[in-house]
Every structure is written in C-alpha cells, then in structure tokens.
C-alpha cells in the first residue's frame, strides 16, 4: 500500500463544504446564545440540549470524519460516550438530581 491510504477521509468533503459546516455550527451557536436573552419557557431546556447534541454530532461526523470512516471507529467512540451517559445518568439519578 502506498502512503496515501486514507482516501476515504479525503472523500469526506471539500474545503467549501467544511466552511458550510462551520457556518451551520456558528448559526446554531448564535441560536443557543439567543436563548439567554429570549424567554422560551418550557422549551428552553429541551431546545438547548437538542442544539448541543446537534453540534456535537456535526463536529464528530464531519470534522472528525466519523460519518465517512470505518464503523469500528464510531463503535468504540460511541460506546464510550453512551456508557458515560448511562452510567453517569444513573449516578445522578441516585442523588435525585432529576427529581
């Protein structure tokens, strides 16, 4: 094999594509910050959490190439992430954090 084996990652996206992704991220961030100034009532918490998750997934999928890379990478990373969410979720629940 030659040195340039990582053709998959290059298929990922063009530089213009990256800039578009960054623009989307910036826009979401602007929305996030705006929740600080606008009263969204009951929507406040869920909307922030959703925006956070969307940003997270976008960076991981596009900037970190997980979307284009081998599934094994996604598997090991999301295994850690989901385990953390579940374990620490239960942990906080035992402190009645959510009630």
């Amino acid at each position: 094999m030659t040195t340039e084996t990582h053709s998959t990652t290059e298929h990922g996206m063009s530089n213009a594509g990256y800039v578009r992704i960054a623009a989307i991220l910036a826009a979401i961030t602007a929305l996030e910050v705006s929740t600080y100034y606008i009263d969204l009532g009951a929507l406040f918490l869920p909307s922030l959490l959703i925006m956070m998750a969307v940003k997270f997934v976008i960076v991981v999928s596009y900037f970190m190439h997980l979307k284009y890379d081998n599934k094994l990478f996604s598997w090991v990373f999301y295994a850690g992430l989901i385990l953390a969410l579940i374990v620490y979720g239960i942990f906080l629940a035992t402190f009645h954090f959510f009630s």
Partner: protein
C-alpha cells in the same frame, strides 16, 4: 536489534540495527544482551516477563502484609501491630494485591501471550507498551515509598471519606496512594489502548474474532473494561488530590459535600475492576481445561459471549457496595436485582467448564489442578456473592468478615488460582523448562488447604458479627462453643501460614527449575493454540512466517485430522508443523527498535507526583522530563530505518513489524 537465535537450517531471518544517530538527540540503544537490553526493550515478551516479575515481587510484599495482619489477629489483644500500623497494613495489603499483583500479572501474561495467540510479531504500539510497564513499576515503587516517608495510606483500599481526609489521616500516606494509583492508572489506560488495537488490528490472516483463543478474548473484554473504568477512578483520585493538597472540599460533609460522591465514583470503577481481576483467570483456565481434558472447550461462543455479557452488566451493579449507605429504596432494589442478574453469565461459564471436563481424558497436571481448584473455589465465592446481592441480608453482612470471606474466595480462589494455573501451563513456553510437577502438586494442595483454612472460617466469623478492619478482638466477647471467635481466628491465622508455605513452594519450584529443571519439549502439553506453534522460548520475531489460520484451535487442527471413522488422529508432530513455518521463513524481519524514550517519559511521572506532595517546582521539573521524553519519542521512528540495519537489506524482502 538482537541477532535472533534460529535453527541452523533456516535462512537468515532477522538483522541487527546499528543506527548512525537518533535524530540529533540520543543515539538509539542497540544492546542485545545485559541489563541495557531490558531497560530499553520494546519487545512484548521481555516486557511481559518484566511485568510478571514485578507482580510476583509485589505479591510477596502483599503476602507478608497479610501474614502480619493474621498474626495480629491470631490471639486476643494482639500486640504485633498497633492500631495505626494495622490500618496501614490492610490498606496497603489490598492495594498491593489488586493493583500491583493481580493486574500487572494479568497484564504481563496478556503482553506475552496475546501477540503469540493471534499470530503477531509484537503489539501495535511497542514503545507505549514499554512506557506502560515503567509507569506501573514507578507507580508501585512510589506507592510503597510512603512506608518510609511518614507512614502508608490507612483509609482502606476504597478510601472512603471522612477517613481519607487530613483530620483522620494526617500523614502523606494517602497522597502517595492517590498519586501512585494515578501512575498505575496511566499504565493501565495506555496498555488498554495498546492491547485492544493489537487484538483488533494485528491478527494473522484468517484469525477471525471467533477463532481467537479464549484467553485473548477475555483479555479483550478486560482491556475494554480498563479503557472505560480507569478514567472514572482517575476523576475520583483527582478530586481527592485537590481536596488533600489544594483545599477543595469535595467530600467534606461539613462543607456541604456529599461523601457518597466518592463512593459512587469509586465503585463505578470498582465493580468493573473486580471483573478486570477475574476475567484473565477465566481465560487462562478456559485454555487449560480443554488441553488437559483432550476435548475442545465446550460452547466456545457461549464462553465468549458470557464474558462480554459480564463485562457489560458489570457496569450496572456498582451500588451493591453501598446498600448500607442510605441510597434509598428504589436504588437499592434496582441494584439488588441487577446484581443477581450478573450471576447468570458467571454461572454459564461454570457450566461450560464442567461440560468441558465431562467425559474428557483428564490429565491432572499442576496446571489442571489449579484450574479445577478455581472452578470449585470460585463457585463458593460466587454463591456468597449472591447472598449479599440480597440487600436485607447484605445489611447484616456488610463490613463483616463474611465479605472478607467472599472476596477472598473469588479473588484468591478465583483470580490467583487461575494465574497459578497459567504459571504451570505457560512456564515451559516462556523459559523453556518445565516446572517440577511433584512440587507443583504440593504447591497446589498446600494452597487449597491453606486458603480454605484461612478464609472458610471467616464466613462464620462474619455472620457472628466480627467486623472487618478491627485491629484487636477480646476474649470477653468471643462467644461460646462452635461459634467461638477466638478459635476461628486462631485457626484462620494458622491457615494463613499453611497458605504462605504453599506459595513458598512455588518460589522454591521456580528456583529449582531454573537451576536444574527439565528442558521442555516443543509441545509439552499437546496444546491447541498458536502460542505453542513456535519455539520455547519463542524467537524474538515470534514466528518465522506468519501462519494462516483456518480454525479455532489452529495448532491442534494442524496436528490432528479426522480419520474415516470420525476420530481425531494425530497426523503431524509439533516439530513437523513448526518445520512448515520455518520453510517459508521471511528473509529479513525488522522488528521495532529499542528506545530510551519510554523509560525517560515514565521517569518524569513520579517526579511530578513528588512535586505535588512536597513542592511545585519539583513537579515542574518532572513536567520538563516528560516533555523532553515526548519530543524524543515523537521524532524517533518506532522501527529504525532500513539502512540502519546490518546487514543492509533491500526494501523488497524486508518485513516490517510495528
């Protein structure tokens, strides 16, 4: 690189590196013999031996600590240790046994045997491997230096608040404990990344996941557990460090903190940790039982999947260590049920082992004896485990000797017996000589008797209400007749001496074998897996040519084939199988080259740790060492360039490893 010993018949298979320079900094080490060849090695086999030797040393240290504990409790009003020393003793005993004996021993065996079992020539990151070892060794030494610098840690191995606070533990012991464990944690984490990558990426052609030897499988599960559990204790240890050294109050109730925070973090790590301790041994006996029963492992996929299931469910039971801490009824009920559930995959394994032996042509070698010993003793420990999964009953048992009995049956009867089984099984592979079987038998029986004498009575002591971690007992409250605490305490203490004698017999066996042991034949046990398909000890590059794997138990299937009547009959000797590999030997193999940087980088870590305790400038100096090591590392290729090798080889026929 070493000139590799090889049968005179084969072509040249490896070459010596004579680097001209190592990129401006230091010249690469080239020693192939003597202490330098060990200090700067990146060879997974040497490192495996170094890990195991370190572990064995700490086993002796931890064992002496245990004997002191039992001497103190042998008679009423014990005077061997004072209360303070007693606390240090049980804390350091447990810490040493868990973190400095069982874990490194399992890591040593993993290091040595995973690459061999999957048909690789080294691990994925040889230098990280060396770094892990040094970090562990320095961490272990650092931890034990506290004995001489004002006293060791004394808060128990789970270091609950408030005992971990400066009021109850003013010495530096706990600081040494925290930082020593951080170093060991770094080692485990780096090791986990390394070994998982190795298992996934370095398998020989045809070595599908479901063809991997079971020891490798169990280690894979263990490494994933380490990968995800170590960072949790890292967080806990950092918080405690900040509390003890920088004035934070994370576990200080008077400052409004919740001491259960520590307990949760510790046991989120701690329960996966108990599987980190036991699964390697499960893997070992799953190799040993089939070999000495002359049958394949019964239900290989079940053993694999139950191992993975244990690894998975093991994350959801941690709070069973906290039933008595006022978690609230819902939490207690949930964790009680999940704990009962985890006994199921464990039971599956016991069934599989039993079915493996069932109807086999059994050969009771020492390795086999220890393996069967594990099945029996671990089952006892597993059953007492189930009794404390029932929360109401656990509230009676917790913090008594009943718990001590439980975890010693699973840990000593389970993990340690498994490791001993592995010692006897793999010794000829590593050192080319067979451990004495007769001494092995004595070793085994002394350990079985000693272990049951020591830990068996603790069930009674515990149920009678003798608390853990109590430094003296008095005749006045010892009770009557069969349940007399005094009698059983003395009995257990005598047992601990029997047990120690058993272990001593092993050490004697090692010395005798090294001096005058029988040289092992190529395939002494008629084994089944790839690590036996190479010389004893293996050549530096493990295999002359990488085997192509087409079966589970590949080596067995190369030796045996089905005849017309469906019987497996031997068609080739091990020597013939080996010869086939040699005939196709790779002409030039360039192994990863020795390096100074792993040990340099690791040496910076204890310096930082000292600095955290005594003075920040020292820590900064340690940081500089780490940075220096990291730079040297970054600019040095893992394998020296081809023209640094002697004789120079044309790139065409060179095989690069790592």
């Amino acid at each position: 690189m070493a000139i590799i010993e090889r049968p005179a018949s084969t072509n040249e298979v490896a070459t010596v590196a004579t680097p001209s320079s190592s990129l401006g900094a230091l010249k690469r080490p080239v020693a192939t013999t003597g202490w330098k060849s060990w200090l700067f090695t990146v060879d997974h086999k040497k490192l495996g031996i170094m890990y195991s030797a370190t572990a064995l040393f700490f086993f002796i240290v931890g064992g002496l600590e245990a004997v002191l504990i039992r001497l103190q409790l042998a008679a009423p009003n014990g005077k061997v240790l004072n209360a303070d020393l007693y606390n240090q003793m049980f804390t350091m005993h447990a810490t040493t046994m868990v973190f400095l004996f069982v874990m490194p021993m399992a890591a040593g065996l993993a290091n040595y045997f995973i690459p061999l079992q999957i048909g690789a020539r080294d691990v994925a990151f040889p230098r990280i491997n060396a770094f892990s070892f040094w970090a562990l060794l320095f961490g272990g030494i650092f931890l034990n230096m506290s004995w001489f610098l004002g006293g060791a840690a004394d808060g128990g191995w789970f270091m609950y608040a408030p005992n971990s606070g400066p009021i109850f533990s003013p010495s530096h012991g706990i600081d040494f404990w925290i930082l020593g464990l951080q170093l060991a944690g770094i080692a485990s984490l780096a090791g986990a990344v390394n070994l998982i990558t190795t298992v996934l990426n370095m398998r020989a052609p045809g070595m599908k996941l479901m063809r991997m030897p079971i020891f490798t499988w169990m280690q894979l599960v263990v490494q994933f557990l380490l990968l995800f559990a170590v960072p949790v204790i890292t967080v806990a240890l950092f918080l405690l460090s900040f509390q003890r050294n920088f004035g934070a109050t994370f576990f200080d109730v008077s400052a409004g903190a919740d001491p259960l925070l520590w307990q949760h973090l510790f046991w989120i790590f701690g329960h996966p940790e108990v599987y980190i301790l036991i699964l390697p041994s499960f893997g070992i006996i799953s190799e040993v039982l089939p070999v000495f029963s002359r049958k394949p492992l019964f239900g290989y996929p079940f053993v694999v999947f139950s191992g993975a299931a244990i690894g998975f469910v093991g994350w959801g039971v941690w709070a069973h260590h906290m039933f008595a801490s006022g978690l609230g009824p819902v939490s207690v009920a949930v964790f009680s049920i999940s704990t009962m559930a985890i006994a199921v995959p464990t039971g599956v394994k016991i069934v599989n082992w039993t079915m493996t032996i069932w109807g086999g042509k059994l050969q009771f070698t020492a390795a086999m004896k220890f393996a069967v010993g594990l099945i029996v003793l671990f089952t006892i420990g597993g059953l007492s485990g189930v009794t404390h999964s029932v929360a109401p009953s656990d509230t009676q048992q917790t913090d008594t000797y009943y718990i001590v009995a439980h975890f010693h049956y699973v840990l000593f009867g389970g993990a340690v017996f498994g490791l001993f089984s592995g010692f006897y099984y793999w010794w000829p592979k590593v050192f080319g000589k067979l451990l004495n079987e007769k001494l092995g038998t004595w070793n085994f029986w002394m350990m079985v008797i000693g272990m049951n004498m020591t830990f068996g009575p603790m069930h009674i002591l515990g149920l009678q209400g003798q608390p853990r971690r109590m430094y003296q007992w008095t005749e006045a409250r010892a009770g009557e007749g069969f349940f007399n605490l005094g009698f059983w305490n003395t009995f257990a203490s005598v047992g601990s001496l029997v047990l120690s004698t058993g272990i001593l017999l092993f050490l004697i066996n090692v010395v005798i074998t090294t001096r005058s042991g029988k040289v092992a034949p190529l395939d002494p046990w008629d084994a089944r897996s790839l690590e036996w398909m190479t010389s004893n000890p293996p050549k530096e590059h493990n295999f002359d040519s990488i085997p192509t794997v087409s079966h589970l138990d590949e080596f067995f299937h190369r030796k045996y084939q089905e005849d017309a009547s469906g019987q497996m009959v031997k068609v080739k000797t091990a020597e013939q199988v080996m010869q086939e590999l040699e005939d196709n030997a790779d002409a030039h193999i360039h192994m990863p080259s020795p390096s100074y940087w792993p040990i340099v980088l690791a040496a910076g870590l204890p310096v930082i740790a000292f600095g955290v305790i005594y003075s920040i400038p020292i820590a900064i100096f340690g940081g500089v060492i780490v940075l220096f090591g990291a730079y040297g590392w970054a600019i040095e290729p893992s394998t020296a360039p081809d023209d640094d090798f002697d004789p120079p080889a044309t790139t065409k026929d060179v095989v690069h490893v790592g």
